[in-house]
Symmetry: C2
Subunit: 355 residues, 2 copies
């Protein structure tokens, strides 16, 4: 029997979620909203990292901006989770920096543990299946692989990156043959048909030493800046503020570009069959017609959400309608991805109150 590795969850909460405007706002982006359940996506994510027979999780660390420190503490308190640390990024530096900081923190504070890097704003319906997938990847990660998680594509989505699985490594784990950037529709259809291509869920499992080593080879400036920013960080209770000057020197790059597409250590657990969705647009959220604050008369295929105002929809089809106290969105479902255009217009008008 092999010894079970401790998993150190690292919840990345840097997303802005502009495609879920007007509910998602700068001060309260989508991960903090109860969009799918009564708890927020962030709370769901934290609760998902609960030890069970498959895997053992340490208290999570959260990486986020200063603006969200308060809501993070409050939402964790609501669900009874005590974070190991809330690491504050003085400026956004994308996911490679987070992976580097997480590796450095874990190597120092939880020697022997594996880092599980996970976005705060995804929905995973089946938390148990998710943990089982993490456990499946843990063996490879313990041996030095940087493990990704691949979702079987349900449609030829052109907005996601794809992972092409290669030679099997263990039960449910394979080498990565290639990372494929956002494809055109024809290519995406080919991927769906192949059975070997998965959506990249943006979740990573790795031993800190493996990530540190790959960063040193492929993105040394990121590793150095992250290490220095953490070394000179200021602690304030659970808050750990990375050193602003050091962190500012860190190149902003995604973990995918900076490491995954270059390393030979990439592995993939797949398919992750746990009801994954990144809630990338309003269309990822069901109905809303059952809400007592909604009347949809002679409507078909509408997504209606409100956090207060009553919404009366009459004889409309395939629309997204979202109402908040100070802003309303109306768009066809087919254009739900373009909601950020309205956010851009608001920026251009200087309406910071609505962002």
């Amino acid at each position: 029997m092999t010894m079970r590795a401790l998993i150190q969850p690292v919840i990345m909460s840097g997303g802005a979620g502009t495609r879920l405007w007007p509910m998602s706002r700068a001060a309260r982006p989508k991960q903090f909203l109860p969009l799918v359940a009564e708890t927020s996506l962030f709370q769901e994510t934290a609760m998902r990292m609960t030890s069970d027979e498959a895997a053992e999780f340490a208290a999570p660390i959260i990486v986020a901006g200063e603006a969200h420190a308060e809501i993070i503490a409050a939402q964790l308190k609501e669900i009874g989770v005590s974070p190991a640390a809330i690491i504050i990024e003085p400026c956004p530096r994308n996911t490679a920096a987070v992976a580097a900081v997480a590796a450095a923190w874990t190597a120092k504070m939880r020697p022997g543990a594996l880092c599980l890097l996970a976005p705060a704003d995804h929905h995973i319906a089946d938390a148990r299946a998710f943990r089982a997938a993490v456990a499946q990847g843990a063996g490879a990660a313990s041996k030095g692989a940087i493990v990704t998680f691949g979702v079987r594509p349900s449609e030829p989505h052109t907005g996601y990156g794809y992972i092409e699985a290669g030679a099997p490594m263990a039960e449910g784990v394979a080498e990565v043959a290639a990372f494929r950037e956002k494809p055109d529709l024809q290519t995406a259809e080919h991927y769906v048909a192949s059975g070997r291509h998965f959506w990249n869920a943006g979740i990573f499992l790795y031993a800190p030493e493996a990530m540190t080593g790959e960063l040193a080879v492929h993105a040394p400036a990121i590793g150095r800046a992250a290490d220095a920013a953490l070394r000179d960080a200021q602690s304030d209770g659970a808050l750990c503020r990375l050193d602003a000057a050091r962190f500012a020197e860190c190149p902003a790059d995604s973990i995918d570009y900076a490491v995954m597409e270059k390393t030979s250590r990439a592995a993939v657990v797949g398919p992750l069959d746990a009801g994954w969705s990144d809630i990338g647009a309003w269309t990822a959220i069901e109905g809303g017609e059952q809400d007592a604050r909604v009347a949809a008369i002679d409507c078909d295929g509408v997504v209606i959400r409100t956090d207060g105002p009553f919404v009366g929809a009459l004889a409309v089809s395939d629309l997204v309608i979202v109402a908040t106290k100070d802003a309303v969105l109306v768009a066809p479902k087919s254009r739900a991805q373009d909601v950020k255009k309205i956010v851009e217009e608001l920026k251009a008008r200087g309406r910071r109150d609505l962002l």
Copy 2:
């Protein structure tokens, strides 16, 4: 030169305006909203009755429910109009009762004046042309005619009653050959083509004695109850509260059914060419895309109104979108007449706060 008759304006403010939900509410129906101008339709109506070279108007009387006494007084004050009276109906009894009360009030308080009965919730772009039309009808009214005003139909509208003009009586005035109820589309198209059929604008000009006489013949119970309710009314400053028990005895009927379709005294001024609209639905109101609280991106033919919340519309066409602090409406323009369905749904749910 004939002596110019004094005109006694009687503004009927009993409408509910449910087709303009969610802005039009029970406590503040559409006549009190600044829908077209910065002043409300009610204020526009009162300001329209201003003496000029064509006609002389007495201070108006307003007929309305108790719930609106306060807003009426406030809105009149805003525009510097002192009403001769605000006559409060203890219960709604439709327009024939108002015509009867107006006749009785005017006969007593303004002997020799003609009553001009006008709804509070219509828009008339050209007030001067309106007054000229009133002056045109005054001669016939002084001789005992009950004068209606006919709008040249711009489309085969099936939601209006039509007036068929008969033999000419004077410049711009004709006998009424027939009142035609809401027609089917084919009939309405015939009316539009004929040149002899007008929309019934719901405005009436008459000598009190003429109306009293016709009521005595065609609807005696209405005339009796209205007279008694006014006789036993309680005065309270400008407020005149009709006696509740007497007024309750009054049959509820429209002036069209109770008198106009039966009398031989009906005349019509037409065409009334003054930019008339009854603002019967949101589609009667233009655009809204210029409002700083609206962003309509890649939209076409939308009507967007807000009294507070920001509205972001993306890639939608021919929709009506109306936002208030507590309710939002989305419907195709082609179904704007059916907005009352949502109001009915709200009634069924007991949501009086939204009515």
